[in-house]
């Protein structure tokens, strides 16, 4: 039987092996070796087959890039579309107007709602409450799971209105949108969004009551930061260690390295080769004051001390961002004015452009070089999960010594829960390698 199982196997007395991590997007495994009570080796094994996006994007027209890049991830396609259009607009020297900018933010809010609700309710909450799946959770907590599914649906309905469908929406183009919505159609969703805002607050209250394993780490949190708003589509790259640089310096600051016997390229600080942490926890820790009023209130009411260095509290951070996304979506809907033109003219020129946006699971960086025919000559994509992978391994190294005395099944469950803190999207496989064990 080679159809692999998610079960834990004892390979040697002190070796933990999880063949398939479950309740994550995409497929990966975990390998841990312990000798004399010390953790000797931790490997996140990513066997997601490579799909070579950066290679086959070459020669494609820039207007095809948002649609193609979306297919890197079925959970957060809007993030890929947003980073792509902003990078390509930078290459063309084009800047869409404020209405387009606001509408893109609304689209991003919808994706945060859908993705965060999915992760909180169906993938992560079962860990805290001792269930093996969202479906099992639903059997005993139907009210909560129904709330989660309706929240997810509210995000999806907004995505469908703005983009035609929730997964791989079709409305986004370089320069703006193929078509912008009517105000009355947006307002038709208003009452559902109002319900969602209340439900998001209940979500934050619910997850704040979970038991969080006692664990903290000295993280370098990294995300975008904007002077006036919670980061989504633009801003500077900042970190809790004092970094504050333009997005165009991303590749000077961070470098993707290949670790021997590792399964994936790890993004690290270029200068000191250390790991860093991207995602909702980083965003809240570094942008607390930019949260909407009700999101800020939910964060304060949670009882978590912000900034939080406990990665298990990321589920609360995600719920607070769910409140933020609903509240901001309502404000954007109310302020929305139908633009006269759905997109700005883009005249072709050769050039290069980079952009980073905040995907639900963290900073997503794109850089493209195009020729004067509008064809891509070079593409680089750094997904949030490849930035968090090194950090996940570091977390496991720190976390494991404290739980080694427990039964193996329990250790494994806790390790998986720790990995799920990062909402890893392993299908973002642009940079994942296949593990090859060196037996020499």
């Amino acid at each position: 039987m080679t159809v692999k199982k998610a079960s834990v196997k004892t390979v040697a007395p002190r070796t933990l092996k999880v063949d398939y991590l479950t309740r994550v997007e995409g497929e990966g495994g975990l390998y841990v070796r312990v000798e004399d009570g010390a953790v000797r080796d931790v490997k996140l094994n990513i066997f997601e087959p490579p799909r070579f996006f950066e290679a086959f994007l070459r020669g494609r027209h820039l207007q095809e890039v948002p649609d193609i890049a979306a297919r890197i991830c079925g959970i957060c396609p809007v993030a890929y579309q947003m980073s792509a259009v902003h990078a390509l607009e930078a290459a063309l020297g084009v800047k869409p107007g404020p209405e387009i900018r606001a509408l893109r933010r609304l689209l991003y809010c919808a994706e945060w709602m859908e993705s965060h609700a999915l992760h909180i309710y169906l993938l992560h909450a079962p860990d805290f409450l001792g269930y093996e799946s969202g479906v099992a959770l639903a059997a005993e907590h139907p009210k909560e799971v129904e709330r989660g599914l309706r929240l997810k649906k509210a995000g999806n309905r907004l995505l469908e209105l703005l983009g035609g469908r929730a997964t791989h929406p079709v409305s986004v183009c370089v320069g703006g949108f193929y078509k912008t919505p009517r105000k009355r159609d947006l307002l038709a969703l208003r009452s559902e969004l109002e319900w969602a805002l209340g439900a998001a607050e209940e979500t934050a209250q619910w997850v704040a009551g979970f038991q969080f394993p006692k664990f903290e780490a000295e993280y370098e949190f990294v995300c975008l930061s904007h002077p006036d708003e919670y980061p989504m589509n633009e801003g500077r790259i900042v970190s809790s260690d004092g970094v504050d640089v333009a997005v165009t310096d991303f590749e000077k600051l961070f470098k993707e390295t290949q670790v021997k016997h590792s399964t994936a390229l790890h993004s690290v600080r270029a200068d000191r080769k250390t790991s860093y942490h991207v995602g909702p926890l980083a965003r809240i820790n570094l942008n607390f004051e930019k949260l909407t009023p009700r999101a800020k209130a939910a964060a304060k009411a949670s009882g978590i001390g912000w900034p939080s260095r406990n990665p298990f509290t990321s589920i609360v951070a995600r719920a607070v961002e769910l409140v933020h996304a609903c509240e901001e979506a309502l404000a954007l809907m109310d302020a929305y004015q139908e633009p006269e033109r759905s997109r700005v003219e883009c005249s072709l020129r050769a050039g290069e452009g980079a952009a980073a946006t905040e995907a639900p699971r963290g900073t997503l960086y794109h850089r493209y070089r195009i020729n004067d025919q509008g064809l891509v000559e070079y593409a680089k994509i750094v997904p949030p999960t490849s930035q968090n992978l090194h950090r996940m391994e570091d977390d496991l190294r720190l976390f494991l010594p404290g739980v080694l005395e427990r039964p193996e099944a329990e250790i494994t469950a806790m390790c998986e829960q720790l990995i799920r803190n990062y909402d890893p999207c392993i299908s973002c496989s642009t940079h994942f390698l296949k593990l090859k064990v060196d037996r020499g």
């Binding site: 080679t2 070579f52 027209h61 079962p126 035609g164 791989h168 193929y178 078509k179």
Partner: protein, 266 residues
């Protein structure tokens, strides 16, 4: 031909992933109103994205997402076939090879060198092929991504033992039914709608852009007629090749048409 076992046991559903973005299996979790009922009607025996517990085959219905791109996956799909009474491919990757099938016209070793610093760590096949190139497929669902209601229709039909009712016509029919304005006639925008399998609801024309063929070719499409018309309207052979080589570019009708046009470009 009901997929369920006789007696009280619930039919067993499994979901397998190969090279893909997860977007099609997400359709199951996006059945927000039906998910809990579905989980009551079937045993979700293997679905790594959704649950930790898994149970061994055989399965009544196996949903397969993703294309076959590695030597290991070439073996694994054989095992999935052995374990599955009905094997249903979900989406453009499993059904047509997906966007990653663009490698099929290129040198995959050059691709590997381009993306990875140490290419020798990468094990991959020269081509990204649909599941049907490796094993018998009982039913195919088109789309990049699939339409979740079509998935529900296929599951329901298999569970009660009838043939799934899915439209076989082109996107053009959906476009007319929706009352959308034809983007080719009104705006001169190139559109693959006349060749493409229905199922999306003609969303691209409704958003004033041309269909990019993500549901793949319909039965007996006339690619020559459409692409000749596109050229007459000003598209270059290179543009026509790119249009045909999208998310379902390796599906036979699109592949043959793009290869014909490639020969005409200088």
């Amino acid at each position: 031909m009901a997929a369920g076992n006789n007696g009280s046991e619930k039919p067993r559903l499994a979901v397998f992933k190969f090279a893909s973005c997860d977007g099609c299996q997400l359709a199951l979790l996006s059945l927000e109103d039906e998910l809990v009922a579905l989980a009551g009607a079937v045993e979700i025996a293997y679905f790594l994205e959704a649950r930790t517990q898994t149970s061994e085959g055989p399965y009544d219905v196996a949903l397969v997402e993703g294309s076959i791109t590695t030597p290991e996956d070439r073996q694994r799909i054989q095992e999935v076939r052995r374990q599955a009474k009905y094997l249903v491919t979900i989406g453009a990757c499993a059904t047509a090879g997906g966007i990653q099938a663009l490698r099929n016209w290129k040198d995959v070793e050059e691709f590997t060198r381009t993306v990875y610093a140490t290419p020798r760590y990468i094990e991959t096949l020269a081509e990204s092929l649909p599941v049907s190139a490796h094993v018998k497929v009982d039913f195919q669902l088109n789309g990049c991504p699939i339409n979740k209601y079509q998935l529900l229709e296929v599951l329901t039909a298999l569970l009660i033992g009838r043939t799934p009712h899915l439209p076989a016509h082109s996107v053009c029919v959906e476009c007319k039914r929706r009352g959308a304005v034809c983007v080719m006639v009104a705006q001169g925008t190139p559109c693959l709608g006349p060749l493409t399998h229905a199922g999306c609801g003609a969303i691209c024309p409704a958003f004033r852009r041309g269909c990019y063929g993500c549901f793949g070719p319909m039965e007996a499409p006339n690619a020559d007629a459409l692409t000749t018309q596109l050229q007459a309207a000003g598209a270059t052979p290179e543009q026509i090749v790119r249009m045909l080589r999208g998310f379902t570019g390796f599906a036979e009708a699109f592949r043959k048409a793009s290869e014909r046009w490639e020969k005409t470009s200088p």
